[in-house]
C-alpha cells in the first residue's frame, strides 16, 4: 500500500507530461493555439488538479474516475492534433507512450481504491 504522505508516482509523472504539453501548445500555430491549444492545456491541467485532489483525499475513487474520463477526452484532442500535424512524429511517439503508461497507472489506482 502507498504511504499517504508520499505523492503518488502518477502525479509526479503527469506533472512532467503537463509541463511538456504546455510547451507544445505554445508552439502551435497562432490560429490553433487559442482555441484548440487552450482546450488541450485545460484538459491536462484539470487532470493534474484531480490527481492532486485524489492524492490528499480519503475517498479517491470518484475523483480518479473523473480524471480517467478527462484523460480519455484529452486522448481524442491529441488524436486530432496528430492528424492535423500539430505534433511532429517524435512528439506523437513520446506522448502516445506517456498516455499509455499514465492510463495504466490510473487504471491501477482506480482498482486499488475500489476496495
Amino acid at each position: 500500500m502507498r504511504k499517504s504522505d508520499e505523492p503518488p508516482v502518477l502525479l509526479v509523472r503527469w506533472y512532467e507530461v503537463v509541463k511538456w504539453l504546455l510547451e507544445r501548445v505554445e508552439s502551435f500555430p497562432k490560429n490553433q493555439r487559442f482555441i484548440f491549444g487552450q482546450r488541450v492545456a485545460d484538459a491536462a491541467l484539470d487532470i493534474m488538479d484531480l490527481l492532486v485532489e485524489a492524492a490528499y483525499r480519503k475517498e479517491k475513487r470518484e475523483v480518479l474516475v473523473r480524471a480517467n474520463l478527462r484523460l480519455e477526452r484529452l486522448r481524442w484532442l491529441l488524436r486530432l492534433a496528430r492528424e492535423r500535424n500539430l505534433l511532429t512524429a517524435r512528439q506523437q511517439e513520446f506522448i502516445a507512450e506517456q498516455f499509455l503508461e499514465c492510463g495504466k497507472m490510473l487504471g491501477g489506482w482506480i482498482k486499488a481504491s475500489a476496495a
Binding site: R75, L78, R79, Q92
Partner: protein, 215 residues
C-alpha cells in the same frame, strides 16, 4: 544477385510507420465496426503493437473465412484488424523496395496495375505477335510453396527480425495446394514458335519440383 536491404526493422516498427499503417488499414472504413473500434484506441494499439513486435512476442491471429462467388467462387481469409495494421506496416516499408524489382508484366496486387492494365498489355502483345499462348496456373497463389518463398525473401531482406515477422505472417495461413503435373520429369517446357517474321524460341520453366519454384 538482387540487392538485399537492411535497416528495415527500425522503420517498420517506428511509431510513425505504425500510425500511418493504421490509417491505411482504416482507409474508408472508419465508420464501420472493427475500424471504428480501433480508431478509438489508435495510439494505444500502435504503442502495444510496437512493443510486441520489438520484444518478439507478436503473434499473428486467426482468420475469418468466408466464401464469395463474384467474380468466381473463392474463399476469402479476413485477418483481424490489428493484424491488418501489422500487414500494412510491413508493406509500407517493403513495397517501395521490392515492387520496382518485379517484372513489368506482373499485374496482381500492384499499384497502377490490375486487371485492366493487364488486358491492355495483353492486347498490345496480341497485336505484335502472330501467336500467343493462353494458359493459367491453377490456384497459383495458394500453391506457392512457403519454404521457397521464405528462401527468396531471405535473399532480399537481411534482418532476422523482419524475416521472422514475414515468416509469422506466412505461417498464419496455409493452403494445401500443390502443383503436380503428371509426366513432368524435367520441369521445363520448350516452346518453339515459327511465325511469319522468323523464329522465336523461348524456354519456359513452368514447374520444377526438384529445384523449387521460380517463375
Amino acid at each position: 544477385m538482387a540487392r538485399s536491404f537492411g535497416g528495415l526493422w527500425e522503420r517498420i516498427t517506428s511509431l510513425e510507420n505504425l500510425f500511418a499503417a493504421a490509417e491505411e488499414a482504416m482507409q474508408g472504413k472508419r465508420r464501420t465496426g472493427a475500424a471504428a473500434r480501433y480508431f478509438a484506441r489508435w495510439e494505444e494499439e500502435c504503442v502495444r503493437l510496437r512493443l510486441a513486435l520489438r520484444d518478439g512476442s507478436w503473434r499473428h491471429g486467426p482468420y475469418t473465412y468466408f466464401t464469395i462467388s463474384d467474380p468466381k467462387e473463392r474463399v476469402v481469409a479476413a485477418a483481424t484488424f490489428r493484424d491488418r495494421v501489422a500487414h500494412h506496416a510491413l508493406v509500407r516499408v517493403l513495397e517501395p523496395l521490392l515492387d520496382p524489382t518485379l517484372v513489368e508484366d506482373t499485374f496482381a496486387c500492384r499499384r497502377g496495375k490490375g486487371t485492366h492494365a493487364a488486358m491492355a498489355r495483353a492486347r498490345e502483345y496480341a497485336r505484335r505477335y502472330p501467336y500467343f499462348l493462353k494458359c493459367d496456373i491453377r490456384k497459383y497463389f495458394p500453391s506457392i510453396p512457403h519454404a521457397v518463398l521464405a528462401a527468396q525473401v531471405a535473399g532480399r531482406v537481411r534482418e532476422a527480425t523482419v524475416r521472422g515477422m514475414i515468416g509469422e505472417i506466412l505461417a498464419s495461413h496455409a493452403d494445401a495446394e500443390e502443383q503436380v503435373w503428371p509426366g513432368d520429369d524435367c520441369g521445363f517446357v520448350n516452346v518453339e514458335v515459327e511465325g511469319g517474321e522468323g523464329r522465336s524460341c523461348g524456354w519456359f520453366r513452368l514447374h520444377s519440383r526438384a529445384e523449387g519454384f521460380t517463375a
